[in-house]
């Protein structure tokens, strides 16, 4: 009988996976107007210990210090300012640590992982504000604003995070989930229905499945670990009627002529993709076929693909000719966009219309004037994009959501690995089951709820159970 989770040397395994604490949260934040600097904010009981581990020294509260940030091997990750606030005299009312580095997103991501390794978990949208509010750090009048923040940023982040993990990645996660559920169906039915004819725990297939799941998790994580999640970038899709200047805008943003620009409407018939950097943050700019009623079969296919891109978009640039103005066709396009997808209106050809490039808020979203041909207003557009797509102050963004996903995958992997050893080394089926439950909880954070009841449903659908 062997039930203790320890390795061969008798050393107990850490009871919880990284970030399993649930009490200390971390997120990436950059105050508006300070682009180029990244901030990691940590709040909770472990903030002090994390500060010591990352900076290698004891910080005095409220004293900014410029120093190196270390990784677990003692290598310098980045150089920057660390600030520690002891609770309750902090923004959230808990111990708070702020690390300001100059690294781009990749370094920031490494720093975030470091903090996570030290026991923080990724904050959910609005969680810092929520804690501040619950700890009496925000006044009552702000409650409404917090509610809005939690609400809207959750929806937007949840929507974009999974979707922007482009087709392939989310397919792999779905496949992982399916593998895990199948395994649990075997393991749980072996426990709850031992009088059924087959003992799944003794079945060599079980080990094979377990190995396969562990490998798949490893693969997905390896891919994510190489930063491909970050490198994939966010998707910015350019939409508009033919000849609005979409391809010209793509060329401008990319800084080279990758799309053919002509005065003939319907020139772009397929999807064109260019990766650009905004403050080191990768963004995929996607040019599409102009949207209009056309009898041309090829063009129709192009439009179908354009809408497909919209399904994966983090943001849309809706380009129109400023000299003819925003009209019914643009409105029709807006109506077809999925709810919650953010749009920026681009008033192109201001060289012809004589309009200005100023940022304006309209009923349909923010609007900016440019001339793609003359290169006017592009700096305004880029600044705007940095602000809306980059690391935002208190809200959530796609990077944070993705980091949460990676963290969840790591927890799932660790649990599956522990479970595999419980089965293989000790034959402890109920402990394998417990570890798989933990893995499921972790994956649920990415893919949504799959609870005990759903699992039972799968068991009864798979096996004829019961007397």
């Amino acid at each position: 009988m062997v039930y203790h989770p320890q390795d061969r040397t008798g050393r107990p395994l850490t009871a919880a996976g990284p970030g399993d604490d649930g009490d200390t949260i971390a997120a990436q934040a950059t105050p508006p107007g300070r682009g180029g600097v990244g901030i990691i904010r940590v709040s909770g009981p472990r903030a002090g210990a994390i500060a010591r581990a990352v900076t290698g020294k004891e910080l005095s509260p409220r004293q900014a210090e410029y120093l190196p940030f270390f990784d677990s091997g003692g290598e310098v990750l980045d150089q920057g300012i660390a600030l520690f606030f002891a609770g309750p005299h902090s923004f959230t009312g808990e111990d708070v640590l702020e690390l300001q580095g100059h690294g781009g997103p990749v370094i920031m991501d490494m720093l975030l992982r470091r903090v996570q390794e030290l026991g923080a978990r990724m904050a959910r949208p609005g969680e810092f504000s929520l804690r501040a509010f619950l700890n009496d750090k925000l006044d009552l009048a702000q409650a409404e604003a917090i509610a809005d923040l939690i609400d809207s940023s959750t929806e937007a982040a949840a929507r974009s995070a999974l979707k922007s993990l482009r087709g392939e990645f989310s397919r792999r996660i779905e496949a992982l989930l399916e593998q895990l559920i199948e395994l649990r169906v075997f393991v749980e039915s072996a426990i709850d229905f031992p009088e059924e004819e087959i003992d799944f725990l003794a079945d060599p297939q079980l080990r094979q499945r377990l190995d396969r799941l562990a490998n798949s998790l490893q693969d997905v994580l390896a891919a994510a670990g190489q930063g491909c999640l970050l490198r994939e970038g966010m998707n910015l899709v350019i939409l508009g009627r033919p000849n609005a200047g979409k391809s010209s805008l793509l060329n401008r943003l990319a800084g080279r002529d990758s799309a053919i620009v002509t005065a003939v409407p319907g020139t772009t018939r397929d999807v064109l993709r260019e990766q650009i950097q905004l403050d080191g943050m990768p963004v995929n700019v996607i040019d599409t076929a102009g949207l209009r009623d056309s009898g041309d079969e090829v063009e129709r296919e192009g439009m179908r693909r354009a809408w497909e891109e919209v399904g994966r978009a983090d943001r849309v640039l809706l380009v129109f000719d400023d000299s003819t103005g925003f009209g019914t066709q643009e409105k029709a396009i807006l109506r077809r966009l999925p709810a919650g997808l953010e749009v920026t209106l681009v008033r192109n050809k201001i060289d012809l219309s004589g309009g200005d490039s100023r940022w304006r808020q309209t009923d349909h979203g923010p609007s900016i004037g440019i001339s793609a041909r003359e290169g006017l207003g592009l700096d305004v557009l880029k600044a705007h994009l940095k602000q809306v797509m980059g690391y935002q102050g208190s809200g959530d963004n796609v990077f944070m959501a993705r980091r949460r996903h990676v963290e969840a995958l790591e927890r799932a992997r660790a649990a599956v690995e522990r479970g595999r050893r419980q089965l293989v080394e000790h034959g402890a089926g109920e402990l394998l089951a417990e570890e798989l439950r933990q893995a499921q909880q972790a994956l649920n954070e990415i893919t949504g709820e799959f609870d005990n009841e759903a699992l039972l449903g799968r068991i009864f659908a798979s096996f004829c159970i019961g007397k």
Binding site: G126, D151, E430
Partner: protein, 627 residues
């Protein structure tokens, strides 16, 4: 007329929920009345006479830890005892007892009759007395009124029952009992949500007509397990075998031919049956690739020839039943004593209940057992106990108590029911429990007996027994932690043969016990490690706690993290329309369940962490506005 004596608690129904409820309230010193339509059926096992099994055995041990009757009756009536999952870990092991129906009933009846503060009365109840949204008593069939501030209704078998055999159907209750129709009609007028479920039974067979030589024998365990912590092996009656046979291709042909006259397959039955205990016609249709299904052949008692063929529940017409039974190995000459049937019945959506099992709509009225959509004696007993003890608490104006999901399977059961409701007859499985490694049969006493004692549910003798056990466990653990073995001693050398590797540094006996390849008895075989404790249950606890230690700690941490949410109550009449930011769907779900705490709210399917945050913000605002 009003019966002159007033009671504190009235329990309606004398099944497994009713008897536990009545006994619990009486143990707590309340004047309790148990009303049943027929005293002869008290403690009746109206379906298969078996107690326990995986998940269910856990419930029985918990009822026992609170001094309920079920395990003790099973010890007096069990004619075959087994530990299921014996080769798997302790958390998922479970006791099961095949019982003699007559002996079981007698044991329950004796307990009821000897229980101080408890009166029995034979009369069907037709109506409830309700004043200003509170129950104040009941009215029986002959118009007699009984007054009490609390009433526990356990009349689930079977409200508005309708029995189907083939395309014939008629009104009926369990096993030949009349259905509780007058009360069912009355309850339908109250503001509860009524739904319909379906379940079935197999035809019963005369054991003398079975050819046992063609069946596989399934003996009980040796040594015979004991159910109750206070039970003794000597209480057990004579032990017998169970048997196993199976359906075959011909059985399946007969079933398929009969489907055109099946009430299920022709749409006559509307109620929803369970997914896990399908009728044999369901098994054959849904799992067409399987050419055989097991049948467990279980005796119903020592003094009867009636046998329960577990696995061929059916509502096919009798002529089909007859042929399908006789197609089975060993049943070639079988005589059917009672035909199988399906029964449809009413239940009340348990989301209308509080954790105490008091109804939200009518104060002082509690529901327990099948009326809440559950199936099984054990599930019924657990609810009866909780409802009875809470009725008793309410009479004295005391705070309600019911266990949490981390405390007991009873807690899982109640929380699942009141939070999610049920779409099928609900039965317990261990996979429903998040904290499965903590909720073991072997530690039900550790989890519940002290609480029960404080509530006044647990007798002095059980309390003493548990205290002794607890002290013995602590002493032994202390000793194991404090006793060290050093490398290069004779003990270490003997240990090396046990561990398969040398002891490199000094280790406490507890360290050694935690090693995967070590067990308590192996360790105690070392002279230097003794003396071993002599009570087997103490040794078992010490060993299990050592082996599971890492997981126990992890699960306890998880519980601790949820504590703050569990301790944040939500007002019962909260206006969810006022909570900013909730989606319409989430709002609706919260309105339906009206969770008691933030933690319960989080477990409602579809209620997201964001929604919980929004609720927290709202509650905080309310509190601030109120103060």
């Amino acid at each position: 007329m009003f019966y002159q004596q007033r009671f504190d608690v009235i329990v309606v129904g004398g099944g497994h929920a009713g008897t536990e409820a009545a006994l619990a309230a009486a143990r707590m010193g309340r004047r309790t009345l148990l009303l049943t339509h027929n005293i002869e059926t008290l403690g009746q096992m109206s379906c298969n006479p078996a107690i326990g099994g995986i998940g269910k055995g856990h419930l029985v041990k918990e009822v026992d830890a609170l001094d309920g009757i079920m395990a003790r009756a099973a010890d007096r009536a069990g004619i075959q005892f087994r530990i299921l999952n014996a080769r798997k870990g302790p958390a998922v092991r479970a006791t099961r007892a095949q019982c003699d129906r007559v002996l079981y009933k007698a044991a329950v009846r004796a307990a009821l009759e000897n229980q101080p503060n408890l009166s029995l009365f034979q009369q069907a109840v037709d109506d409830l007395l309700v004043e200003n949204g509170r129950v104040s008593g009941v009215i029986t069939q002959m118009g007699l009124k009984f007054a009490a501030p609390t009433v526990v209704l356990t009349v689930g078998t079977f409200l508005g029952g309708k029995i189907h055999i083939g395309l014939e159907n008629y009104a009926g209750g369990r096993a030949g009992d009349p259905p509780a129709n007058a009360l069912a009609r009355r309850l339908r007028e109250l503001p509860f949500t009524v739904e319909r479920l379906k379940t079935g039974t197999p035809p019963r067979i005369d054991g003398r007509s079975i050819n046992y030589s063609r069946l596989q024998v399934q003996p009980g365990d040796e040594p015979t397990p004991v159910f109750s912590y206070l039970g003794r092996r000597e209480e057990h009656p004579r032990q017998v075998n169970c048997y196993i046979t199976a359906t075959n291709a011909r059985t399946h042909d007969i079933i398929r031919e009969g489907l055109s006259r099946s009430p299920m397959y022709t749409g006559v039955i509307e109620g929803v049956g369970p997914r896990y205990c399908p009728s044999v016609e369901d098994k054959v249709m849904r799992f067409a690739d399987k050419d055989s299904h097991q049948i467990f052949v279980e005796p119903e008692g020592l003094e009867t020839h009636e046998v329960y063929p577990n696995g061929i529940s059916t509502s096919l017409p009798f002529d089909v039943q007859y042929r399908l039974v006789r197609s089975i190995a060993g049943f070639e000459q079988a005589h059917i004593i009672r035909p199988g049937y399906a029964i449809e019945y009413d239940f009340f959506d348990p989301r209308d209940l509080k954790p105490s099992l008091e109804t939200k709509h009518i104060g002082g009225l509690y529901f327990a057992g099948q009326i809440n959509g559950t199936t099984g004696y054990e599930e019924a007993a657990a609810q009866g106990l909780i409802a009875g003890l809470n009725a008793a608490l309410q009479v004295k104006d005391e705070e309600p108590w019911s266990p949490g999901r981390e405390q007991a399977y009873m807690g899982v059961l109640i929380d699942d029911l009141i939070t999610r409701g049920t779409q099928e007859p609900y039965r317990m499985f261990t996979s429903r429990a998040e904290y499965r490694l903590l909720l073991r049969e072997d530690n039900a006493d550790e989890r519940l007996t002290e609480i029960g004692y404080r509530l006044g549910l647990v007798s002095e003798s059980r309390w003493q027994a548990w205290q002794q056990k607890r002290e013995a466990i602590e002493r032994e653990e202390q000793r194991l932690r404090a006793t060290w073995l050093h490398p290069q001693t004779p003990a270490a050398q003997r240990l090396e043969t046990l561990l398969g590797q040398p002891l490199t540094r000094e280790a406490s006996l507890m360290d050694l016990l935690r090693r995967p390849e070590m067990s308590y008895s192996k360790l105690m075989a070392l002279e230097q490690a003794g003396p071993a404790v002599d009570q087997a249950q103490v040794a078992e606890q010490v060993e299990i706690r050592a082996k599971y230690a890492g997981y126990i700690e992890r699960q306890k941490n998880e519980i601790e993290r949820n504590r703050r949410q569990a301790d944040t109550p939500i007002p019962q009449h909260l206006d969810y329309d006022q909570v900013a930011g909730l989606s319409a769907e989430v709002r609706q779900k919260l309105q339906r369940v009206r969770p008691a705490t933030i933690e319960q709210a989080g477990r409602i399917p579809g209620v997201t962490p964001a929604a919980i945050s929004l609720l927290l913000v709202h509650l905080k605002r309310l509190r601030a506005a109120g103060s």
